[in-house]
């Protein structure tokens, strides 16, 4: 058996930090094995993935002790460039890992960098894109692709140099069920070729039947290790106790089905639509929508990518004109302008939504009810941060600042766009609790999500959009 990854007593501490992110890690991975490393955010997963692909300590610097080998490359001694032909990496965010504008160039990029002849590059692109079934995407602009499509291209790009080791760093965080299924198929194909695959993930269900070994990281250490058989025996509850997400999504899907049925009582709806069509002048995205949303309830909006969830959210929040039909508030027709004043769309990326130099100023910006500031800071656990710069907070804290400013400016419709993508079990639950607290304020709360665990447990009713 050839050793592909070998960590002996590896510890790592980033430059300018006071605490080690990895503490005494011992891992051996054989050629052709597929292992999954799970654990809460901050458990050291990302740091370890950077050691594996040579980014640390060479580019993101720090102090490494112990001995780590990826293939025959020794961490801390080998150059980043030596890793290029041997290790392929796919990262979490589909938006920030493609270096070119169109798919074809993106696949050519690693080969161009290694000086391969253009004729051979062209052959390789066709070969790889057919093998991994992305050939229909080749002439598309990456900026116009869905997250799932971008991620598939990133996956193929990482494999263009035929690396012997593949590292998947939370690659499904932003994806819907269908896209995850495609990624799963790609992993299966590559595993069959004998590639060694290391998966870092929060979402575990899709990895059943692929992974040979599961490792749990906690506070920079390996807390536990399971064979695939042992891990498959664990119930969802046992996983949740370990801070992990469910392996078995069937129970969640049943729950979602039950909540679908409950969503048709429009009698006391606060916000409703009548024969609404949304989309653009040249094509309608969704037709004949008669939806109702109750105050003080969380309504989940589910559906695969491309079904028009975002278009619907943009229309309900007054960003976009509806094509036909009406939107009603307390059974009275409301205009686009009134809607935008009533609503707040919390986007996935918090950095776009913070404008001030302190949490307090941020929340007071445009506030209609400044007198409730203190109460709100307390309710959202933000009191201790009131003088901090919003950008210095964690993502979860930023999200609460955004929610606080929405509430203080008197918004009555709060829409969340994919609030839990990339979140571990603990943080997902925390967000769920926040949703239930928000219900007390009698707002209309809408959650657009792919996260079946979130939808099944924390949404009161669910609208499923279909293609």
């Amino acid at each position: 058996m050839t050793r592909m990854i070998q960590s002996n007593a590896v510890s790592f501490q980033y430059l300018h930090t006071t605490e080690a992110f990895l503490k005494d890690i011992n891992i051996n991975v054989n050629k052709g094995e597929c292992i999954l490393i799970c654990g809460a955010s901050g458990s050291g997963k990302s740091t370890y993935s950077r050691i594996l692909n040579g980014i640390s300590p060479a580019y993101i610097e720090g102090e490494l002790s112990g001995e780590h080998f990826t293939a025959d490359l020794r961490a801390g001694e080998s150059e980043i460039e030596e890793y290029v032909p041997k290790v392929g990496s796919v990262f979490q965010n589909p938006k920030t890992q493609h270096f070119t504008v169109d798919a074809m160039s993106e696949l050519a990029f690693p080969l161009e960098n290694t000086g391969v002849d253009p004729e051979i590059i062209r052959e390789k692109i066709i070969e790889k894109s057919e093998a991994l079934e992305v050939d229909h995407l080749l002439d598309r602009n990456l900026f116009e692709m869905s997250g799932g499509e971008k991620q598939q291209i990133a996956f193929v790009a990482a494999n263009m140099l035929e690396p012997i080791i593949l590292i998947l760093d939370e690659v499904t965080s932003n994806l819907d069920q269908e896209a995850i299924e495609r990624i799963r198929n790609m992993v299966l194909k590559l595993k069959a070729t004998g590639q060694t695959i290391i998966i870092f993930e929060h979402r575990l269900a899709w990895t059943r039947g692929i992974v040979d070994r599961y490792l749990l990281f906690d506070d920079g250490k390996i807390k536990k290790e399971w064979s695939a058989d042992e891990f498959n025996q664990l119930t969802n509850d046992q996983l949740h106790d370990l801070g992990l997400r469910s392996m078995d999504l069937d129970a969640h899907r049943e729950q979602i089905q039950l909540k679908l049925k409950a969503s048709n009582n429009s009698a006391n709806a606060k916000l409703s639509t009548k024969n609404l069509a949304v989309g653009y002048l040249d094509h309608k995205v969704l037709n004949n929508l008669d939806l109702s949303f109750n105050a003080g309830e969380v309504t989940g909006l589910l559906g695969p990518n491309g079904t028009g969830k975002s278009t619907l959210a943009n229309t309900l929040s007054g960003l976009q004109e509806s094509i036909t039909g009406q939107i009603l508030w307390d059974n009275k027709v409301v205009s686009k302008k009134e809607l935008i004043q009533k609503s707040y769309l919390v986007m996935q990326d918090m950095n776009y939504q913070l404008f001030s130099d302190s949490v307090e100023n941020e929340i007071l910006l445009g506030a209609k009810h400044p007198e409730y500031l203190d109460d709100l800071l307390n309710a959202l656990n933000l009191s201790e941060f009131r003088d901090r710069h919003p950008m210095s907070l964690s993502e979860g804290q930023k999200q609460r600042v955004v929610i606080a400013s929405a509430l203080l400016s008197g918004k009555e419709i709060i829409i969340f766009d994919e609030p839990t993508s990339g979140l571990d079990y603990e943080h997902m639950e925390r967000f769920g609790n926040l949703l239930s607290d928000l219900k007390k304020s009698k707002n209309v709360i809408i959650v657009i999500t792919h996260d079946e665990e979130l939808a099944s447990k924390w949404c009161d009713s669910i609208i499923q959009l279909k293609k």
Binding site: I55, Y59, E81, P110, E112, L345, Y352, F355, L365, G366
Partner: protein
């Protein structure tokens, strides 16, 4: 991938020629033919609207310079009017050539052009990163405007006029904050794909210098040659 239309190197050459023409005093007739030659590529490349707009701008400048400028007496206005009709008119060929180059060349074509021109890696990489950022910034900008709309800040033209600095700040701060994160992610991803590898980097984009590129460059040189020859004065 074969580059369609004019070769990016021809487009760059046109920009350089335009810069040379700034220093040359052409007769009105030669100047008109120069403008016609410079807007020609727009019509060949199926962008007649842009080409015609530039021609209209030119005609307005020319008429203004001939029939309006002589009657302006105020020293303050003559400065502005002569800049618009004369100074700006001199720069117009450069603006036309630049617009054409940007409008009709993709990012991968630019990168391929610089590789073909043997631009060294230390210069090529920052250019490639910069070109990658433009569409990303545009995307970010839309997200930020969306967030501002919900916050009710910077939503009207009046806000922009009353508090330009604040409005600008609301856009710029999230844009920069985001850009640092994006830059880090992009660098890491590009490093794992060999951006920093030493040695020659190839390109699948094939540049093709064709007859039409020759014709364009030669045509653009004609006013210069005639001017030196002095056949038209």
């Amino acid at each position: 991938m074969i580059v369609k239309g004019f070769d990016p190197r021809a487009k760059l050459l046109m920009i350089i020629l335009a810069a040379v023409y700034v220093t040359i005093d052409l007769s009105i007739l030669l100047e008109i033919s120069l403008i016609l030659i410079f807007i020609l590529p727009f019509f060949v490349s199926n962008l007649p609207l842009i080409g015609s707009s530039f021609f209209v701008i030119y005609v307005v400048q020319l008429l203004g310079s001939l029939y309006l400028l002589p009657y302006v007496e105020s020293p303050f206005f003559i400065y502005i009017v002569s800049f618009i009709f004369n100074g700006f008119r001199l720069l117009l060929p450069g603006i036309i050539a630049g617009t054409f180059a940007i409008k009709t060349t993709s990012v991968s074509e630019w990168v391929a052009t610089f590789k073909t021109l043997r631009v060294p890696n230390w210069l090529l990489i920052p250019i490639a990163v910069m070109l990658r950022f433009f569409p990303a910034v545009r995307e970010d900008y839309h997200h930020i405007r969306k967030a501002m709309a919900f916050r009710g800040i910077g939503t009207s033209a009046l806000d922009l006029l009353k508090k330009p600095a604040t409005t600008f700040e609301y856009i710029l701060i999230p844009l920069l904050m985001n850009a640092t994160q994006v830059a880090e992610d992009l660098t890491v991803s590009a490093l794992t794909k060999g951006l920093s590898l030493p040695g020659k980097h190839t390109t699948i984009v094939q540049l093709k210098w064709t007859v039409s590129d020759w014709l364009l460059i030669i045509a653009a040189l004609i006013p210069f040659i005639l001017n030196i020859g002095g056949t038209v004065s």
